[in-house]
Amino acid sequence: MRYALCSMRSEATDALCAMRYAPCAMRERITKSMKQELKRIEQEALDAIKVVSGLTEVKTLKARYIGRKGVVTTLLRRISSLPPEERPDTGRLANEVRKRLEEAFEKALQAFEADRGEIPAVALDVTLPGRPLARGRLHPITQMTQAICEVFQRLGFEIVEGPDVELDYYNFEALNIPRDHPARDMHDTFYISENIVLRTHTSPIQIRVMESQSPPVRIIAPGKAYRVDYDISHTPMFYQVEGLMVQENISFGDLKGILTTLVHQIFDEETSLRFRPSFFPFTEPSAEVDIQCVICRGAGCRVCSHTGWLEVLGAGMVHPAVFEMVGYDTERYSGFAFGMGIERIAMLKYGIEDIRRFYENDLRFLEQF
């Protein structure tokens, strides 16, 4: 298309140039050829209009032929230089050509304006894939962590972090889990030395924060945790999010409220929650939080072991022994803490069956998120 336009233009200009610089002896021949040239130009223009593909192109084409400096217009101006006997005929022809071309252009313009689009004369195969700009994905765990943290940030919680390699003191003792306590059986711990462990949960961050700041405290702490475990639902490294809120007059009812908000925002408003008594050495009362099975909506299925419920969170009111450890006034302050496994939530939300997929980093898996 573009090639056609260019070649046409050059032929028309060649004709003009030839005329302008032609010696006088050749004039007659030129006059004759001017009539032929007019006819040829008309035909060319009409052909060009047929294959033109857009409004702008029609306008350009129109300007080139019958615009103020157009080929036909210029020829018309040159008629005065012809021998007088030639002028009427040539002039008539030229005007006719211009009129016909005007009509043709007008028609084409109208057609395009009505279409406001492209003519399918040389249609593209629009089903061929577009040229993709590569789009990277965030790891599903990052996406899930961000979603959870954002809910709490909207609630005014601050994001904090702590070390992965942690002192036994922060991971256990300050959380009211002394050495030789049976509750240590709940954590299969990786040891670096007698007093250093890979943190088994994100809860030590609670202690580090409370040691460094006085109430009120409102934090959300995402991070990696480690336990000696590997199967379809356990990996030796996994992610948790820990939450802590401490101030005057925080109640168990408030804990229920905050976690209900979380579940409703992450899943949906119809997802019901169930709080049941449990045991964590660093909370009292302690609760295990179940959500209604997101797969079967509580009817009972394989995912929820036919109970209709899925365990997703551990929570409770901060144990006074923990407050004593960090020097908080147990008479004045109360607070709640909770923790949840990110993979578990992501698995439920995205329908992932094997937790190990998260750490294989197969692109075919990552690209789904």
Binding site: L128, P129, P132, A134, R135, G136, R137, L138, H139, I159, P163, D164, V165, E166, D180, H181, P182, D185, M186, F190, Y191, I192, S193, E194, N195, L198, P216, R218, Y230, P236, M237, N249, I250, S251, F252, G253, D254, K256, G257, I258, T261, R274, F275, R276, P277, S278, F279, E284, P285, E288, P320, S334, F358, Y359, N361, D362, L363, R364, L366, E367
Partner: protein
């Protein structure tokens, strides 16, 4: 912990459906894991009607029965002699698995087809009689399940108990909670000790040499017992919770263990040297064989039960082989003790044993339940094994466990829970689980925790009791009232989210790999011996060798991911990881934590663009990955960014001459370049790969927020191009920096638009084509003015870099 519904019913009246009960138990904190039909194994054992019985043609001890099983008649070969035509008997159909483990199949016995097996009581584990086929009552209908025909129905309730509730490690403990839920009362077993004859003090003694490890030890002796099989009711109870019957004396101790939660041990009294008990710690290195036949090496922290000569039991964990109750045992000494939980736990952990007994002692048994359980066992032993009870009891209690008295305020309880309970309600919840409660005033209560509730120590523990018995679902859901305080945006978090945005925008996908890697990772990366990254933090108990140390670089994770994807034919990768590396502290202080440094590293391999119909698979190169680092640094608004050829020893895994170090001013941010062939080979990779490895913490440090808008010139710009022939070694950046340093105000920008080597340019030289854009903020520049400045600039550059202009072709 497992209990059977039938056993529970001995102590509490249960008039609700077991599914409802299980749900209610879960909701008071005793999580029910499963409800199991105890007789599910009898599913394929049905009532059969013997319609015909005839001798086996090939075996005179066998007979062939034709048995109506409801939906047809089946031939069965049988060896029993107590059956006749017309009898109703249990028949195990093909596919049935009997408690012995035997699976019934259609078979041929001496040429005769047999399609099932007629069973005895013992074979079905519904009784102890194994003398003949079980004869069913005449009212049973052929074809119905044998469990139904015998009226057998029971459910095993399996609990996943939390470690604080040791009081529920017994049938009575669970029954107590059931009674509280159903608002009914608990029926304790009636104790009726037979009169004793010989006073116990005359025949034995107990000396506690380690009272800290053993605060209480009680014993009774039963003389002249007759060891034998337990009565069927006792066997039945043990079977119902999955325990095997052994003999009447041992069965009694196991029964009381399950019933009351107190582990007991029965010694063969006559095999105790000097007929006495000494409780003391073991000698270091001493060997001892427990009754499972394992020889164990002891240390001086382990508590032993000894006789006059030496150890006879690993206290609270397992008895010894030598003093076990055997068929010829005449007299038994029953031990009921309270051992220190920590002592038992340490010993059990060290020896790697976990028994029903150690499990309970570790969590704390009821110190006041010691003598009750002892009496209960003595009574049952005399009832089931005969014999005479020695009169009296030995009860050494050198370290009394103090009573726990707790004051709790109803107001504070409501405040913590967010509830509105009155004092009366609180009292009734606490009393329902046998807590001794008395009001002190209108608000406060005085509570004496029962000795079996070792978990109740503080007012909050009582508040939890109230909450769980009330039901967590009955506590109103509220929202906390709080001061509005906005914390400032954390720079690290800000940087992290910007990096993730930039890199995903550049087509890089995030990966997350384990923080631990194999010890050989440093060798694979060719790190020199003195590289600080070789000082790795080791895990004492890794799961596998390739997860034995904490990573000191993210690069092995990227390469392992590349390998994994290449095996899946994902050959075009653009990936990054944002995570910590762990550097060992230089000092030898054992309690110092490693330095955790955050890194951001990425890898690009394979195609430059996603493969598609219009592209012919161009490969990624150095300038592609460098462009990513450019984007990252631009996105973080890092000032003074510059690249220098690889020089420092920090990146031996990157290819010399194809790698740049990345600086912001004088701060080294990291490197970007191509991975060496050797490193790729070490990770079994064949395809070239490019990587950037940047220190996140330094990026955060160099990230700037300040952005000030500059006015945009209203006047047109003019460009001038110049090609410089320079030495190949001249770095482009140097040329640009030089021009920048000249400080010509009218230069808007200078860019390199072409680099060319080859004819007609002579060897060792290259052509560097620069485009200068000139622009003023005040006026339109004239051609001549621009030409003049451009000429000056060109001359300066030519001189500075000893460059030439290309020879013009005619």
């Amino acid at each position: 912990m497992k209990v059977s519904l039938s056993w529970l019913k001995d102590y509490v009246t249960i008039d609700v459906d077991v599914v409802k009960l299980a749900e209610a138990l879960t909701m008071v904190g005793l999580e029910v894991d499963a409800l199991v039909d105890r007789y599910a194994y009898l599913d394929r054992v049905v009532v059969g009607h013997i319609v015909e019985i005839a001798p086996h043609s090939n075996a005179h001890t066998l007979s062939v029965c034709r048995v109506d099983v409801g939906n047809g008649i089946r031939p069965v070969v049988c060896g029993a002699t107590n059956i006749k035509q017309g009898d109703l008997v249990p028949i195990a159909l093909p596919g049935a698995q009997l408690p012995s483990g035997h699976t019934i199949q259609v078979g041929e016995i001496r040429g005769q087809v047999s399609e099932g097996m007629l069973c005895s009581e013992a074979e079905l584990a519904v009784g102890t009689d194994s003398s003949g086929i079980l004869l069913l009552p005449g009212t049973a209908t052929p074809g119905i399940g044998v469990a139904a025909a015998l009226g057998l129905s029971d459910t095993i309730i399996e609990f996943d108990l939390t470690p604080n509730r040791s009081d529920c490690l017994s049938v009575i403990g669970i029954a107590r909670e059931v009674a509280a839920i159903l608002k009914t009362s608990l029926r304790y077993p009636r104790l009726k000790l037979p009169p004793g004859e010989t006073p116990i003090e005359k025949i034995t003694s107990v000396i506690i040499e380690s009272p800290d490890h053993c605060p209480r030890y009680a014993a009774r002796v039963v003389l002249d017992v007759q060891i034998g099989e337990s009565p069927s009711w006792l066997q039945e109870r043990l079977h119902s919770v999955g325990l095997r019957a052994i003999n009447n004396v041992v069965d009694v101790t196991n029964f009381v263990l399950m019933e009351m939660g107190q582990p007991l041990h029965a010694f063969d009294f006559d095999r105790l040297a000097e007929h006495r008990i000494v409780v003391r710690t073991a000698r270091e290195g001493q060997a001892f064989t427990t009754l499972d036949g394992a020889e164990r090496t002891l240390n001086s922290d382990m508590l032993m039960i000894c006789d006059g000569k030496g150890p006879v039991a690993l206290a609270g964990i397992m008895g010894g082989l030598e003093s076990e109750i055997e068929d010829d045992t005449r007299s038994a000494l029953i031990e009921s003790a309270y051992f220190d939980p920590i002592t038992i736990r340490r010993t059990a952990k060290r020896l790697g044993v976990n028994t029903e007994s150690s499990y309970r002692f570790e969590r704390g048994v009821d110190p006041d339940g010691i003598t009750k359980a002892l009496d209960r066992a003595a009574q049952l032993m005399v009832e089931t094994a005969g014999g005479k009870l020695a009169s009296g009891v030995i009860d050494n209690y050198p370290r009394p466990i103090p009573e726990r008295v707790i004051e709790v305020s109803v107001k504070r309880t409501n405040r913590l829970l967010g509830s509105r309970l009155n004092q009366e309600e609180v009292i009734s919840y606490l009393k329902s689980v046998e807590l001794n409660v008395a009001p002190l005033d209108k608000d406060r209560l005085r509570v004496v925790a029962p000795t079996f509730r070792v978990d109740i120590e503080r007012p909050e523990d009582l508040m939890e009791e109230v909450a769980r018995l009330r039901g967590y679902d009955q506590i109103p859901t509220t929202h906390p009232l709080s001061h509005v305080v906005a914390s400032p945006q954390d720079k690290k978090l800000e940087c992290r989210s910007r990096l993730r945005e930039i890199l995903t925008g550049c087509g890089f996908s995030e990966i997350v790999t384990y923080s631990f890697i194999g010890k050989d990772a440093c060798n694979k990366l060719l790190l020199p011996d003195n590289d600080p990254r070789r000082q790795m933090v080791s895990i004492l108990n890794p799961l596998t060798e390739d997860q034995a140390v904490m990573r000191t670089s993210l690069v092995p994770g990227l390469l392992a991911t590349m390998y994994r994807n290449s095996t899946q034919r994902n050959e075009d990768l653009r990936i990054f990881e944002l995570g910590k590396i762990f550097l060992s502290p230089p000092t030898a202080d054992r309690d110092e934590l490693p330095e955790e440094v955050q890194m951001i590293s990425g890898l690009w391999t394979g195609a430059r663009y996603d493969r598609t119909w219009h592209l012919k698979g161009e490969k990624v190169d150095f300038y592609d990955i460098k462009g990513i680092v450019d984007s990252v640094c631009a996105g973080l608004n890092i000032k003074g960014l510059r690249y220098t050829p690889l020089d420092s020893p920090g990146f031996p895994y990157l290819r010399l001459g194809h790698t740049a170090e990345v600086y912001a001013g004088d701060e080294l941010l990291g490197a970007v370049g191509e991975l060496t062939h050797e490193v790729l080979q070490n990770f079994e990779l064949k395809q070239p790969a490019y990587c950037f490895d940047l220190n996140f913490d330094r990026l955060v440090h160099c990230m700037t927020e300040k952005k000030r808008a500059r006015p945009i010139s209203r006047f047109p710009a003019t460009t001038r191009d110049v090609a410089l022939i320079v030495d190949d070694a001249i770095e482009a950046q140097g040329v640009l920096d030089y021009i920048d340093g000249l400080g010509e105000e009218l230069i808007g920008r200078v860019e390199i638009f072409d680099v060319y080597k080859g004819p007609p340019i002579s060897r060792g030289k290259k052509s560097l084509a620069l485009r200068f854009t000139y622009r003023s903020y005040e006026r339109s520049l004239t051609d001549s003015e621009v030409n003049r400045i451009h000429e000056t600039m060109t001359q300066k550059v030519l001189k500075q870099f000893n460059a030439q202009l290309p020879r013009r072709s005619a």
